[in-house]
């Protein structure tokens, strides 16, 4: 096997089912690890991906047909929500966390800032049901979908049955999101030997490996774990992260370690979007860490970086931006959306 292909199974399935379809022939770079998602158990198919894509961009998922997934996860922002510190949804309600970027989800073990969901399939239940996001129920989404002839066709193509169910709806959303793979940054090209870092980027890379890589582990730039990175609690939100779920003091202020890929498109940063610039985030690590008991052990030792070193580090971080991912037409708004309305942007 010359190259590992993530979506090999899907292509085989599609080819055998439809003769010639070839949707997502993305080849993963050799430096990427094996995805965590079990594609042998749940193979991707073109029809399911297209159904998921239609659902992702369709405000039919919200109670007043105003908010789609893409309202807060825009393809132009690496599926994050640029400029908005906190997610917002129906009737201009404001949520309590920053809408995270969506890509390379096949490697992720749990979802949401506090890891509340253990499987990508089920994650969509959270924004659909949240009174400040889509304020809808999956039961009613399914009722609406079943009244819609366009979706009857899409469901039939995907599941050989035109009936929408909760599990089919969620699985299709999951399939589309699994195709969002960002692996074509300058960093990736350097790893593949196609280009070289500048001397500043190289210096930044060394600083990165020394100071950041323990948690933001390459090549995914996260170890998919949870940590307290010393951010003081915002008293207007009182968000204690994973503690909300476990009520265990060890989990106080633990949040998902986000990937550092595509930072150019995903500002503002941190779970509550408190930092507008990457440099502010770096300044936090050198000067702003609050030393609570649950502080990540990697941060117990002080990080010391000069202003020039921060610039070098920044130069390296910018090599993680992947414009081909941002402009990939396969990830964008599909041509036909059945409810005829484009969600709020």
């Amino acid at each position: 096997m010359k190259q590992r292909t993530l979506f090999l199974f899907s292509i085989i399935t599609c080819c055998s089912a439809f003769g010639l379809l070839k949707y997502h022939d993305l080849e993963l770079p050799k430096h990427f690890p094996k995805p965590y998602f079990d594609f042998e158990k749940e193979s991707l198919t073109n029809a399911k991906i297209q159904l998921g894509r239609a659902l992702f961009y369709d405000p039919i998922l919200s109670s007043d047909n105003s908010i789609s997934c893409a309202s807060c996860h825009s393809p132009y922002n690496a599926f994050a929500h640029t400029d908005h510190d906190l997610s917002h949804g129906i009737n201009d309600s404001v949520g309590f966390r920053n809408a995270p970027a969506l890509f390379n989800l096949a490697w992720q073990k749990s979802f949401m800032w506090d890891g509340a969901f253990n499987h990508l399939d089920m994650q969509a239940l959270a924004p659909i049901s949240d009174s400040k996001e889509m304020n809808e129920t999956i039961e009613n989404v399914v009722l609406k979908l079943n009244k819609n002839p366009h979706y009857a066709q899409l469901f039939y193509a995907a599941f050989y049955d035109s009936i929408a169910t909760g599990s089919r709806t969620l699985k299709a959303l999951s399939q589309f999101q699994l195709t969002l793979v960002s692996c074509n940054s300058k960093y990736d090209k350097v790893k593949e030997g196609k280009t070289k870092f500048t001397s500043q980027e190289k210096k930044g890379y060394e600083l990165f490996k020394k100071n950041c890589n323990a948690c933001h582990t390459e090549p995914m730039f996260t170890n998919y774990g949870f940590a307290n990175n010393g951010l003081p609690v915002d008293p207007t939100l009182n968000d204690f992260g994973k503690y909300r779920l476990t009520k265990n003091s060890k989990d106080s202020l633990l949040f998902k370690i986000p990937t550092l890929r595509n930072l150019k498109y995903t500002y503002p940063y941190a779970h509550d979007g408190r930092f507008k610039k990457i440099r502010e985030m770096l300044n936090h690590y050198t000067d702003g860490i609050q030393r609570q008991p649950s502080l990540s052990k990697e941060l117990k030792k002080y990080i010391v970086l000069s202003s020039n070193e921060k610039s070098d580090l920044l130069a390296f971080l910018l090599t993680l931006n992947d414009s081909t991912f941002i402009f990939n037409p396969l990830n964008k708004f599909p041509q036909t959306i059945s409810s005829g309305k484009e969600g709020k942007k």
């Binding site: 990508l120 089920m122 969620l170 699985k171």
Partner: protein, 230 residues
């Protein structure tokens, strides 16, 4: 003609073998309060007539049915978890297909959904999230849902809500239930909520909606309320 005859004989034989090698044990479930079958929306009174309550929702998952002869496993049903919903009378009748001529005296099953199913993504049928038995604030099936109003509940509009779940230790909500049965075609299982409303439901325990210590206690108590009507 001979081929036709052959097929007829063959078919009859297959049918004969089939009907003789599988038996159907039917489980019939009934939820009762003070010897009365529970009806949704009906007002019930406590023994001393002081308290009253109404049940609006009673739904729960049963899974992993197995038949035992004393300590020996005789048959493990491959059936997926089933959702019992008082609102759907047909859900209270569960046919369990097992090999014929088994000797068993114990029926075991779980109240709730196991950990593996809880971490394996979306499922359809009785496990479909549209059944209202999957949490939306975090992963996990609701194993047992009981909702209504009660004069003892201090909550707004006197509501009580028990959403029991949890798939991770220390708050693993699944409970094994073991009942003595005789080799009958129909097994009547009773969920008797009398003692629940008498001793468990209280001013302190009227709203349990996340996997925690309280939920584990209530799950333990609910698991004790299943019995077989002989």
């Amino acid at each position: 003609m001979r081929t036709a005859l052959f097929y007829i004989i063959h078919f009859t034989l297959v049918l004969y073998i089939h009907t003789n090698s599988f038996a159907q044990t039917t489980i019939q479930l009934e939820a009762i309060y003070q010897n009365e079958t529970i009806e949704l929306g009906k007002v019930y009174y406590s023994n001393d007539k002081k308290d009253s309550f109404q049940i609006e929702i009673l739904k729960f998952y049963l899974s992993d049915f197995s038949l035992w002869n004393d300590e020996v496993l005789v048959f493990k049903s491959p059936q997926l978890p089933v959702l019992i919903d008082l609102e759907k009378p047909e859900s209270k009748i569960l046919p369990i297909e097992s090999p014929n001529r088994l000797t068993f005296n114990v029926l075991k099953f779980n109240l709730g959904i196991d950990s593996l199913t809880n971490v394996s993504g979306a499922f359809g049928g009785d496990l479909d999230p549209t059944n209202g038995m999957y949490w939306t604030w975090q992963s996990g099936y609701i194993n047992f849902k009981l909702e209504g109003t009660s004069s003892i509940s201090p909550a707004r509009k006197n509501v009580f809500q028990y959403h029991l779940g949890g798939y991770q230790v220390p708050y693993y909500g699944l409970r094994e239930i073991k009942l003595p049965v005789s080799n009958l075609e129909t097994i009547h299982i009773i969920l008797n909520l009398s003692s629940f409303f008498e001793y468990v439901a209280s001013k302190e325990i009227y709203q349990v909606m996340s996997p925690n210590q309280k939920a584990m206690y209530v799950a333990d108590e609910i698991a004790k309320l299943f019995s077989v009507q002989l």
